[in-house]
């Protein structure tokens, strides 16, 4: 499954970049995120409750940031297991572009794969669910970042 889109954020590129590297912000914005802990530089473990159609499961797994090019781009990738519900793995290339001094356009290019019961039962729902979740993430991310920028 692949999807790409972009989100316009009313904050400077540096502010957006900082937020993208802030586990607290990520935790706040990832839909269903129960915990997110830094285990090593650019490495985190996360627990996320994920629901697709009739399948709901708690996924736990690793999140890794790589190909860091501050404050322009990075790759965020992860994989998690939801026990009998299956597994998910994937990543996103995130790229920032300054539209002006205080407006940044965030481009994302996601490539994800799911397996197990999640894929069997949720196949027809997965694309719409993923698009919805990505939308939710970046919407709340834009909200958090612009609030921070305003406060800052």
């Amino acid at each position: 499954m692949q999807m790409n889109d972009s989100q316009r954020i009313p904050a400077s590129r540096e502010e957006v970049w900082a937020a993208l590297n802030d586990p607290a912000v990520l935790k706040q914005c990832i839909p269903g995120c129960q915990s997110l802990e830094v285990t090593a530089p650019n490495e985190m473990t996360a627990t996320v409750i994920f629901k697709v159609g009739p399948v709901k499961a708690t996924f736990s797994g690793k999140v890794i940031l790589s190909d860091l090019d501050p404050p322009n781009s990075y790759r965020i990738s992860g994989e998690g297991s939801g026990g009998v519900a299956g597994f998910a793995k994937g990543g996103a290339l995130v790229r920032l572009e300054s539209e002006s001094a205080d407006v940044t356009v965030l481009h994302y290019d996601v490539d994800a794969q799911i397996g197990g019961k999640l894929a069997q039962l949720g196949a027809r729902l997965i694309n719409s669910t993923a698009t919805k979740l990505a939308g939710e993430f970046f919407k709340s991310f834009a909200g958090v970042v612009s609030a921070k920028a305003e406060a800052g």
Binding site: V84, A85, G86, Q120
Partner: protein, 806 residues
């Protein structure tokens, strides 16, 4: 005699014998919800088992941690491959000469493969336990596309076969290769193609699908430690085979294994094989000393127990310009999944696919089949067909239409031109079969006349012209199919399962009052054996069918038989019934002769008893003979009236039929309407026309499902994406078209009552009729072949690809 004496017609009708539309006796309990299925079996102290399954299609199993699962209230045990190794049961033999993991041993090879078996006091606790078993996997690259299975760099699936250059069916040419099977004269066929005036070539795929009986596979195993006896209640199409297999692999003496198949809610081939669930439930019962039940859920059934088809058939026909076929060449790539658990007679790795010459007089043919491993569920069962006959019929019937299109000939005319002629029977086919009997021209012409075929073609031509003028967006297709099946496996000279010849059996025991019981080696899953078997006996010995009880499915009481699948029950067991009945009749004749004080040869059988020739008033009914058999037999004769017959058929039987599907498709939406479906079947002697009609309705409905949408589909990463009835097409009364049935009767010359079998004909002949209708509809837009299944979306896409939709 007086006016109250029944006429011969009345006496005959009272028997409800062969030819009578006798109502199904089993339906009395089924329609009242009083059937007794495996899930109705509830034994004291019974435990429940369920599987932890792999979410990965291909992965190494690094670790299985059951410590948390064992803390779940009600969970008693978690069985893994390591547990099974202690009793040497981590792997089991398959019917195809391969071996299969019972539980994942170091590796998983398909999604939903069985990894661990959780045993608990109830199903809920077992499910909770499954959620707590932590399995650590290391994913490996999955192999999904069979066409890539023999690539040089294809992943190695079966590490257990490392270094094995030959398998159960000869040499292996690649680490993912299972067998190559070829038959026919290659040189002669190649020569026919060299000098052919016209040839066609097409890769015709018959997609992977699933028999999907409404009742899933299930069992209850109960081990009695004191007696050392194992009782297995299960959804078994072949109970005796299960008993023998269990005895061989569990090393239990066969007399201490009791296999009972109670009522079965549909089988369609899905319930022939032996599955890990059976082994695990048996081991769990031996370990815990309690009965253990295992019941598959729908997803498990669709994704783990035997699939069907998955044949990719590159088909070539050579012909003359005027449409006479001169040669057939077929290569099949057969996707068998992770283990070769194909259910075929042992010597036939591609079943009876060499019936692929169909109803046509091909002077020469050559067939080669390559079986390969992929990361998919194992199986390859005969889903309402006789061992790959559906694939063969689809292959040749589609190819004949493609040839007709190339020659610009009518598909029905092309068939009529190439049919085997009535006087050619018994007919020896180029690929080695001896067709017993047939009259194809009569059946085809009857179909064409009854349906008004010529008028339909005329209407189609007008609609095509109107479509081209832009006056309609609907296209019309006529799907012609003329199939020849090969059923009734089978003669011991070429059919066995694990070395056991594929005979079948019947034991008849008559009681003093003129009633009796017939015990069979077969097992009905809905076919109505309790009704039809009694009808054969009624006609053969003159006792009303209502007085005969038919019993199947208990290996302790039934004579050994190979079970019910591949339309073999009537051709094989039906013959055994007639032969056993004739033994009864022969003894009855001796008793009657003694009682009527004449010589046996002076008696003739007359509907329901014996009459002295020329002295019509001297008559003894079979009912009275039954009584006499228990109190006044001739001196020196043993009392009693019973017989057993084990029937080894001299040949297969070859039912055939002519089908027509009339379909309209809206090119803008892809939505199709089956306007008309006509099915003419010739199954030889007809035992119960009502049951035949029911069989044809059911088989056509399954054929409709398969051709028009039913599919087990995997995505590129090995996920099954049609694992529930939400995505797997299961037609209901809403989608199912109206069926018109018809028949001709060409008895089998070698069968005691001339019957050929019918249960699977409609599936075999139906799929090509539907697919040919869709292909015929699109052909004038320039297409030669569109792969099944033909669901709305694919129809729309076909229209789009052909430029009919913007």
């Amino acid at each position: 005699m007086n006016d109250l004496t029944p006429t011969r017609e009345q006496r005959s009708a009272a028997l409800e014998g062969m030819g009578c539309k006798r109502k199904r006796v089993e339906d009395i309990r089924f329609t009242q919800g009083k059937g007794n299925y495996v899930d109705d079996v509830k034994l004291p102290g019974m435990l429940h088992g369920d599987f932890v399954r792999s979410p990965h299609p291909h992965a190494r199993v690094k670790k299985i941690d059951d410590s948390e699962a064992l803390k779940v209230p009600g969970v008693l045990a978690v069985i893994t491959a390591e547990t099974l190794k202690t009793v040497n049961l981590a792997w089991m033999p398959t019917l195809a000469g391969d071996v299969q993991m019972v539980l994942a041993d170091g590796k998983v090879l398909f999604q939903n493969q069985e990894v661990a078996f959780v045993v608990a006091t109830d199903r809920y606790a077992a499910d909770d336990g499954i959620n707590k078993v932590i399995v650590e996997y290391e994913p490996l690259p999955p192999l999904v596309d069979p066409f890539k299975s023999m690539d040089k760099d294809a992943p190695v699936l079966r590490e257990d076969l490392a270094g094995k250059t030959s398998g159960a069916h000869g040499p292996r040419k690649h680490h993912n290769h299972i067998f190559e099977w070829s038959v026919g004269d290659k040189e002669l066929t190649d020569a026919a193609f060299k000098k052919a005036e016209v040839t066609i070539k097409e890769m015709i795929s018959y997609h992977r699908t699933h028999p999907s009986p409404l009742e899933t596979c299930q069992c209850v195993c109960s081990f009695d430690k004191i007696k050392g006896e194992l009782t297995i209640y299960g959804t078994f199409q072949a109970p005796h085979v299960i008993r023998t297999v269990v005895s061989l692999i569990a090393k239990l003496p066969e007399q201490k294994i009791h296999v009972i198949a109670p009522d079965i809610g549909g089988g369609f081939g899905n319930k022939v094989g032996a599955y890990p669930g059976y082994i695990c439930a048996a081991v769990a019962s031996i370990v815990t000393g309690k009965p253990v039940k295992w019941v598959e859920d729908r997803i498990e059934n669709l994704t783990a127990t035997s699939f069907a088809r998955d044949y990719h058939m590159t088909t070539e026909i050579a012909a003359s310009k005027d449409g006479k076929v001169t040669g057939l060449r077929v290569h099949v790539l057969a996707d068998h999944g992770a283990f070769d658990a194909c259910a075929d007679p042992s010597k036939w790795p591609a079943g009876f696919f060499n019936i692929v010459t169909g109803s046509y007089d091909f002077p020469t043919a050559h067939l080669a089949v390559d079986g390969v491993y992929t990361n998919k569920a194992p199986g390859g069962v005969a889903y309402r067909c006789s061992f790959r006959v559906t694939e063969a019929a689809y292959c040749i019937e589609r190819a004949m239409d493609i040839l007709a299109q190339k020659l610009n000939m009518d598909p029905a005319e092309l068939r009529l031109k190439n049919f085997i002629k009535p006087e050619q029977f018994p007919y020896h086919s180029a690929l080695g079969w001896e067709y017993d009997s047939g009259d194809y021209h009569t059946a085809m012409r009857k179909m064409m006349e009854t349906t008004g075929y010529a008028a339909l073609r005329k209407e189609q031509a007008e609609k095509r012209a109107a479509f081209k003028r832009g006056e309609t967006r609907e296209i019309m297709g006529l799907g012609v199919s003329f199939f020849t099946e090969i059923v009734g496996a089978g003669p011991s000279k070429n059919c066995d399962i694990l070395g056991i010849a594929m005979f079948d059996s019947c034991e008849i025991r008559m009681h003093p009052t003129g009633a009796g019981i017939a015990r069979m080696g077969t097992k009905s899953q809905g076919q109505g054996h309790e009704t039809t078997w009694a009808q054969i006996i009624a006609t053969e010995i003159g006792i009303p069918a209502d007085n005969i009880m038919v019993e199947e499915g208990n290996t302790d009481t039934a004579p050994y038989g190979l079970g019910t699948y591949g339309s073999r029950s009537t051709p094989v067991a039906g013959a055994a019934i007639a032969m056993a009945a004739r033994k009864i009749k022969a003894k009855a004749q001796m008793i009657a002769a003694y009682k009527l004080e004449v010589h046996e040869d002076d008696l003739e059988f007359d509907i329901d008893g014996f009459r002295v020739k020329g002295l019509p008033e001297k008559f003894m009914s079979m009912k009275d003979i039954c009584w006499a058999a228990y109190n006044s037999v001739p001196p020196g004769m043993e009392p009693g009236l019973e017989a057993v017959s084990y029937y080894d058929p001299p040949n297969m039987t070859y039912p055939f039929g002519a089908y027509l599907c009339v379909m309209d498709i809206d090119v803008d939406t892809g939505v199709y309407k089956v306007r008309r479906f006509y099915a003419l079947d010739d199954c030889g002697t007809r035992i119960n026309p009502m049951i035949i009609e029911g069989q044809v309705h059911g088989g056509l409905t399954e054929a409709f499902a398969i051709a028009m949408g039913q599919e087990i589909r995997y995505d590129d990463t090995g996920n099954v994406v049609t694992g529930s009835f939400m995505d797997f097409f299961m037609p209901t009364a809403v989608e199912t078209p109206h069926w018109e049935t018809d028949f001709t009767v060409t008895p089998s010359p070698h069968h005691p009552i001339g019957a050929k079998g019918v249960g699977e004909s409609p599936n075999v002949g139906g799929v090509p009729a539907f697919s040919n209708a869709v292909n015929d509809a699109f052909s004038f837009l320039g297409s030669t072949h569109i792969q099944m299944p033909h669901d709305f979306w694919r129809n729309w896409r076909a229209a789009k690809d052909l430029g009919a939709v913007a």
